[in-house]
Amino acid sequence: MTGPGAGEGTTGRAADAGRSVPRSPAAPGDAAREKPNHTPPEPPAPTPAPATHPTGPGPATHSTGPEPTTVPPDGDTTGPQPATAPPDGNTTGAGPDQAPVPGDGAKGPTDGAKGPTGGGTGHPSPARPAGTSSGTPGTPQHEPDASPASADGVVERRLHPVTPLRRAWAPVAVLVGWAVHDPDQAQRQLTRLTTTHLLIGLAVLIPAAALYGFLTWWFTHYAVTGTELRIRTGLLFRRTAHIRLERIQAIDVTQPLLARVAGVAKLKLDVIGTGKKDELAFLGADEARALRAELLARAAGFAPETAHEVGEAPARQLLRVPPGVLAVSLLLTGATWGTLLAAAVVPTLLWLATHNLWTVLATALPLVGAAGASSAGRFVGEYDWTVAESPDGLRIDHGLLDRAHETVPPGRVQTVRLVQPLLWRRRRWVRVELDVAGSSNSVLLPVAPREIAESVVARVLPGVTVPTAAELSRPPRRAARCRPLWWRGHGLAVTDAVFASRHGLLRRSLALVPHAKVQSVRLTQGPWRRALRLADVHVDTGANKTVAARLRDAHEAAELLRSQAERSRTGRRDAPPDRWMA
């Protein structure tokens, strides 16, 4: 039986041949873990199979580029591996082989009864979410990769059936776009429009839109294997993405307002290189939660058959920001008042100067928008900010209308910044921002008392204590000739665990980089600084952020450059492994 499993296997292998496989010596299990992909795929038990798949794209569909380019074997950034499946005009491929999943995808996982029945053969049915722990297959196995058959006997699932509706607005948007683009023509067409035309138009448009939505939904599948999340999509241009779980930087479940009404959610894996198209939108809300728990458990290194038993790891709430505090903190932020003031003053001045309504409107609208986003928008987005700790990472839940649930696994944070605007200083409040490679989320705490913030930072960066203001060393006094007044804001502290640099006079920002996360160190010195015997040291991290210690004494900077390179090299040895519970 050469089924879709075989097709899957060949594309997987082609992908592996295409990129030069990163194999880090720090993870000796790597080779063993990849084995399931290379073993000839055993046909999955429950899938009837159309044998129409050609044998994949053959060898390497994309080579590693021009000849003189070599890749050292640590391709952490290789993130998703887009295995280009052959565009075989395959209409039978994805359709009939979905027999195990009934039409209503939401119910799909619950019919995992086939798991237990096949249990004797050691099919742990790995793709079931954690919620359905109704009976587990017999033989318990402790190694995550001990069951190659299960790695290929992947059960594919579909997204929630409500998904097609999210594209329902597309034809309407096209119409509106055309009307805006050419208003006169639209006006003329509208006057000619009769009821019959309208009905015919609707009769064509609605089924077409429905068909489009249905087809995109029907041809999108996802599956969880022992090591990967696979997303297969596309009717004409097929696309298969295999996202390796141990490369997960963070997982987000977001629920926009309408999705909350419909009871569905988006799930996004932050792996370097993944884009918007690698989101799973939409899943049932409970399913998304269960899938997140399962993915995290697998990424953490739990065995496949225990991964879905683990369920959602218990979370202990660390902090909840009260709405009142959030509102006050926004009122005490200069940016809020600055944008509001700009939105009020600039259009008024423009009106006095030009008396041209359009000019005023064109400038006022973006300004008002920015003011709204920085005040009300931030309040709505950061409302009910909750931080909880669980074994699989830090959970962040927030939002008034759109709810977002983010998870940051341990050891994935590249930099942490403690920002303190001037007016927060008396209350000892800080805002904590963080950078995770491949993730767009950047706030850990919108506002919190400094002590609590520091304890939360200690959980994100294990073993790190935030240096106090007294521990930070200022630049030498002659730096005042380089940057008058503001030189006092700069400070530097290097501890065993972090490189900490502060800048800003009124709005202070203290950036922390764990030594293990430093990718390269640079020293720069312009002519003016050289005359004053000063230099800057920059530390580059994997989240494309650079933290700089400015205006240091030249000798100190040179010494810092050497020692920091040494620390960054050795720091990695103590860093937690990719699979933090294996």
Binding site: R23, S24, P25, A26, P68, T69, T70, V71, P72, P73, D74, G75, D76, T77, Q249, I272, R412, Q414, A437, A516, K517, V518, Q519, S520, V521, R522, L523, T524, Q525, G526, P527, R530, H538, D540, T541, G542, N544, T546, L561, R562, Q564, A565, E566, S568, R569, T570, R572, R573, A575, D578
Partner: protein
Amino acid sequence: METGSPDDTGTTGIPLAPHPAGPAGEEPVWTGLPPGLLRMRRLLLVVWLGLLTLAAGVLPALFLAPGWAALALLPLALLAWGWVMLGRNWRSWRYAERADDLLISRGVLWREETVVPYGRMQLVEVTSGPVERHFGLASVQLHTAAAATDATIPGLDPAEAERLRDRLTELGEARSAGL
């Protein structure tokens, strides 16, 4: 290819290539750039500014008064200044392979020194444009997971560039560490 274990990331350093690096902690052994790059840059400078000098000397003299030919002194002065600057800049470039990291130092007025631990390298690239190829030059570029890492060594001998690439790849493999 031999891949080391994480344990031999110590300060010993395996001499993998004919150029053994100085052990970490000691003064690095700096290597300058071969003179080919300077020759190429100076030739390009002379060609372009020479054309400009010619244009500035001839055209105004033809259409205006002959005295306007003095305009040609401007690109000529630029040429002399550029000649010196290129020399200084070329002399400032140097790199050192240490046991565990690569140092690149450059710049005269704006100096910059970069340290990249071998274990953080994601990609080593050797590039060579048509003009560079004519002069027998190639440049080596190191990429890490941080885009800000700007570690390029221009104007190397192609054989040296390839040796460096292979050595860096090998060392990167032995000391591999990710994000």
